[in-house]
Amino acid sequence: MRFEMGTSPLLEIKDLHVHFDVYGGTLRVLDGVNFTVHSGQKVGLVGETGCGKTTTMKSILRILPMPPARIPRGEIYFKGQDVLKMGEGELRQVRSEGISMIFQDPTAALNPVFTIGQQLGAVVKYSMEGKKLSKKEIRERAIIPLKEVALPDPERMLDSYPIQLSGGMRQRVCIAMALVASRELLIADEPGTSLDVTIEDQILRLLHRLVEEKNVSVILITHTLGVVRETTDRVYVMYAGNMVEMAATEELFAQPLHPYTRGLMDAVPRLTGGGIADGIPGRIPDYLNPPPGCRFHPRCPRAMEICRQEKPSFYGKRSGVSDNHEVACFLYRDSE
């Protein structure tokens, strides 16, 4: 999808830093994250455990526990307004009408002691700020999203407790909750990871259908590259609190540039067989003392002297506002 120059993005994160103050020092988790979502786009965010994907998303909704978290620098614009500078009222507006989030583990996201109807009803009430609804009206409105996510017998579902549902059904309920009010941006944090592959497939197809129908923009967070390839049109690759590469999905899979992205792709077992490459040596750095320069250099097979000293900025080809293939790596310094 192409976008006109000058269209302001739906969401724009600029140079976001998030630190956590813990016993023994400061964890410098996000180290200057830039991230953009245009209206109607489906953006994937890939990276391994602990790279800061969820932290980035939680800062958008300002649901990071503060303290220990702290945002020393950075801006997060949602429809041109900085979320980080909003008051409680505006923030509530964003949360109830603008952005919603689906979490990885639907079991933990639902309260075990309330029925689905009670929990969904609370969301309905919250989204109807100002208007008084009777219990019956709330119930009627709560049933609509349950039908949309194709849950069998939605009437009965409203009176069930989360424990009476399977994992896949619970995740459908979470999606239903996220879609109660008409939202503009949906953040899906590994929505299928805790589920079986056939169920994950169902959930992803459901998300895809709803997103098309309701014209919602999506950020899909995952560590499964295959899922990104099949469901998004733009991808960001994240490593140790930095974005390292961003490109149109097709382009990224056809021609990954960053050594980390390449290592990641090589490590994925293929259906075509032929064994697996050896992966990436070492492990994600300690955020108390992250390596200087490029945070990937201790694990990088092509590290140079400069990588140990300076943090790379983004290089690459720019073909349009949102078609850029950019990579934060000194290897591509000269390709500007």
């Binding site: 056939t198 899922v227 090589d266 490590a267 077992p269 259906l271 992966g279």
Partner: protein, 332 residues
Amino acid sequence: MTTDILTVADLKKYFVIGHSGILKREPITVKAVDGISFGVREGETFGLVGESGSGKSTVAYTTIGMYRPTEGSISFRGRSLFDGNKERPLAIKKEIQIVFQDPGSSLNPRRSIKQILELPLQVHRQDENRLEQVVRLLEMVELPPDYMQKYPQMLGGGEKQMVAIARALATDPSFIILDEPTSALDVSIQAKIINLLIRLQNEFHLSYLFITHDLSLMRNVASRVAIMYLGKICEVAEAAEFFRNPYHPYTRMLLSSIPVISEEEEKLKPKKIISTGEIPSPVNVPTGCSFHLRCPAKLNVCSEVDPVMVEIEGQTGLARHTVRCHLYGQAG
């Protein structure tokens, strides 16, 4: 023809989870494993694939001896693993080892790596120099000797799993059960563990029973694959053949649900079969073929009669391809 190192014949494992009826005397049973048979050949990696609740871990735990089978038998090199009520002899325990899914909970957090690795040595190899052995085990899994002094929480997930592998190797086994050894790990770490396992297999001539839900991984490590659904095996074939010619509708559904990262892989996937429904509870197994509720190719007979395993014609001997589905009822 190569011989089987492990033979599973008509294995059943039922669990009683409660009682029903007025007098609470009628047991409610879960048929976790319901009559499965397969053989693992000397030196091969036999893949057991299934979704959660399919009973694949129960097969593992029964083989290792954590459960006794309800019916059927498991034999190791022709010798039954369950001889009356007698405890399994040490000599057989030594030969069969297991690596669990979550190394975070399978290693005792209050013991150092040295203590963890010493325990199987104490039990099985009393005469040797223990310290030397621990160093050698760490070397085998490519960890430096000073890791001995560390505790599990000081290690990353991948390193913990390597320790768990070293512990399994401590008894010098010939057969290792790998119960989803990499599903809790990131893909770059998974690659390292898998390659380590393959190298160890070649070096020590190990046979693996590899349990996973990841078919792409299976394609790269297993020589033969069995697909389990609700306590039964629905298809067994050689790995390459399996991905070329899947027969069972469930296998096709699984294969078409795999997210892949390249066009070549996309071509290998069967025509998209929309996955519907969920795996039913093993307490209330549907009548007939247990898959019929989700099956896109369901026949009338499927809801009444449970199909039997038949052989696909033209595939005999080592490359035997068997499937349990009414669609291929005439093939055998």
